[in-house]
Subunit: 438 residues, 2 copies
């Protein structure tokens, strides 16, 4: 009998492997921060002496969800300006509000709020892009959450930096300060082709190669973006990024609603990752990301919620559902992105995009113990013929009961263990009231 | 001081009126089954002596949601056959399973399960179409829920009736037996143009006129339906129904994903009601109902979930969100179907479709006290700038705390008062296990 920290025995175990397995009567042995073994529950019970055994008799255990595109702090703008076109929403509402309200305290409170919401809905890792990535990193570490912080870059001055060089240098400083973290990694995060000029993009391409560091960018989000690029640069954004050396396996291209067949081919050949944000694309009427065609080209697809001000939540379970339903609607094929494929995109897809596929994204021996349990005893999940169908097409994120990250139990029967939820609500109310009063 | 049964004091009160009001510091006075008065909380507190006062300090109070298209009993097939095309799903899975499993007990259990789910997610009235409408009516009455039962008609024999005449007669018998009910009404429910021939449709048109009774039908659900109608009848289904006398203000036309501009004009002129089922249309890849164009023509739009076997839930809050987001995506306009419009479709839209707009659909003096409270203190609803935005774009149905129908509190702080939830789960498990074993 080997002593281990934790044995989890769920009703169903969905490892998210290439066989699309759904295991019953299986358990997961966890020691320290890692998955030691997956196997039949009866065998593991006789093999190990766990300090803690967690039985989840009505639950499906899945890999922690990876939210591949967030602006976590913007959760403070949830519902602040709805039902508006993208550029009006940005130019007349979000950007003015940001320039007025965003500071370190705002980012701290907004990110704490986002982490609380994400943990309670089963997300264990988020890929962020926002000002004060140092604060975002600290919030994630304090909560025990995994995050890829964005070394944000825009051409114009903000409260975080004055010019592209300063953005890049400050970002790299934050990245360096996190280099020993097991939880926090970093990506270059040039905001979009229309907010970052050639010179900094080229510099980012070089640094990304040298440091083997991912690049996180909004790309081909709207038809307007393409038109503007044609007018300014005489080419579409993807072509421009390609000329600048950015189109490769380190690129996380977010949105991608406007793609020509030749572009899909290029993205596939270069191993680019597409981050699909279906609810944000719908809400801002940005266009449709043609997941079905992208899938045929074997491009890796991750799923992101985008910010809670264009969604309006950070609910990856709802986002999987929308991704799957929308893929069917847009392709006119009800077989497009089935439930397991949606779950795969929301876990392994995100892990691959972040270059973390050896570490997270599936329940496998040796990987980090990033796990999420969803209680399917809810009346709205009955009866259960297939737990993955129930998870993607029926479940609410409120059925998430337990979450572990690197073996630490951050959500226990629905209660957060590392975040003071009432304090976060109080801090949110204070800032929200200020913003409301203008 | 007048004695009344109930005073409800919510944080926000959204009556769903033509001014799109969002009231604060207001209360609703309820006596017996009706709304007696809406007014400033302080004034009503001094005017009335309520037997019960319910304070809802973090909640938005809305009219009970009207699910305008269900096959409630099919909740037992939730997740039974996913990711399949409509006709294959019907022909090879759902219809064979129905002919094998559907009987009175199935309909009782499935409808109880559906009622439990609907009440817990804020639905107070559902418009059903299924076999054994007598059983559906009894389930609704036992639960205290409002329902419009469907007098289902198809050409072929089933466990409920042998031929069209028998369907119609049995349906009318059920309708007659419910004529004194305050909760249950009835509609003719010819399944679809492709399953009901001209003669019974004509008879239904005549009876609908004579009895002033609504007609509930799947219409223009898929391109395939149109093609088949062109081949069989030499005309599109709407034209055929028009020739048979069915296209008028009593018609609830469900789905409507295939509409020509001329058809939209006709529907508008005739006062037809469209029941939009966005999640079902997406999941079965049936096509898009162009809500934005329909809205321009001032056609009444209601929202339905369709059955839980093509959705896979009966969650009207999620359905409002999908309706609103999809309207924006499909019309390329982020201003399409704003949050209040979605709420209106899910309440007054349904009430109008059912011919019940004098009785339900809004919080107004003299209307039935069909009310739903949603708790916005959830971390994923913070901060609250606009409670209607939070309700439609952020909230989960799990935040529904209290539901009243005709003044009776059927959900109290999340607990059902008229349905034994554990018994329903046990009955569901029994039938679900049988179906799973084949």
């Amino acid at each position: 009998m080997t002593e281990i920290d934790l044995l989890i025995i769920p009703r169903w175990l969905v490892p998210v492997d290439s066989n699309e397995s759904i295991l019953e009567k299986h358990a997961v042995a966890v020691h320290r921060d890692s998955i030691l073994e997956i196997g039949p529950a009866d065998r593991l019970k006789t093999k190990y002496t766990p300090t803690q055994t967690v039985s989840l008799p009505d639950h499906v255990l899945i890999p922690g969800l990876v939210n591949a595109h967030t602006h976590a702090a913007m959760t403070l703008f949830r519902g602040y300006a709805d039902d508006l076109p993208l550029m009006e929403w940005l130019n007349d509402h979000i950007w003015p509000a940001e320039s007025r309200w965003v500071n370190e305290k705002f980012v701290k409170t907004g990110t704490d709020l986002a982490c609380a919401e994400m943990l309670k809905s089963g997300t264990t890792c988020f890929n962020d892009m926002y000002f004060f990535p140092d604060v975002v990193a600290k919030c994630a570490q304090n909560a025990g959450m995994r995050a890829c912080i964005g070394m944000i870059v825009v051409d114009f001055a903000t409260v975080w930096a004055q010019n592209a060089d300063e953005y890049i240098n400050k970002g790299l400083d934050v990245r360096d300060s996190m280099r020993h973290s097991n939880l926090v990694t970093a990506a270059f995060a040039p905001h979009a082709p229309y907010t970052v000029s050639d010179q900094p993009l080229q510099k980012i391409a070089t640094l990304s190669d040298e440091l083997d560091c991912p690049v996180h960018i909004h790309l081909h989000e709207t038809a307007h973006e393409i038109e503007e690029s044609m007018a300014r640069f005489g080419m579409r954004p993807i072509e421009r990024l390609d000329q600048l050396g950015l189109v490769g396996p380190r690129l996380m291209a977010v949105h991608m609603t406007q793609l020509l067949p030749g572009e899909i081919k290029t993205l596939s050949e270069r191993g680019v990752h597409i981050v699909h944000c279906p609810r944000s694309n719908l809400k801002l009427a940005s266009g449709f990301c043609e997941v079905s065609k992208i899938n045929e080209s074997e491009i890796n697809i991750a799923i992101g919620t985008d910010s809670a001000s264009s969604n309006n939540n950070l609910d990856m379970i709802s986002e999987m559902m929308t991704a799957s339903l929308l893929a069917k609607g847009v392709s006119s094929s009800p077989t497009a992105m089935n439930a397991y494929a949606a779950l795969k995109a929301a876990t392994m897809g995100g892990a691959k995009a972040l270059g973390l596929e050896e570490k997270i994204g599936s329940i496998e021996t040796g990987k980090q113990a990033d796990l999420c349990a969803v209680d399917l005893s809810d009346i709205a999940s009955q009866p259960v013929y297939n737990p993955v169908s129930q998870l993607v097409y029926s479940a609410s994120s409120r059925q998430v009961s337990d979450v572990w990250i690197a073996g630490q139990r951050l959500l226990e029967s629905g209660a957060l263990t590392t975040i003071d939820e009432e304090q976060v609500k109080a801090d949110t109310l204070e800032i929200g009231n200020k913003i409301k009063k203008g």
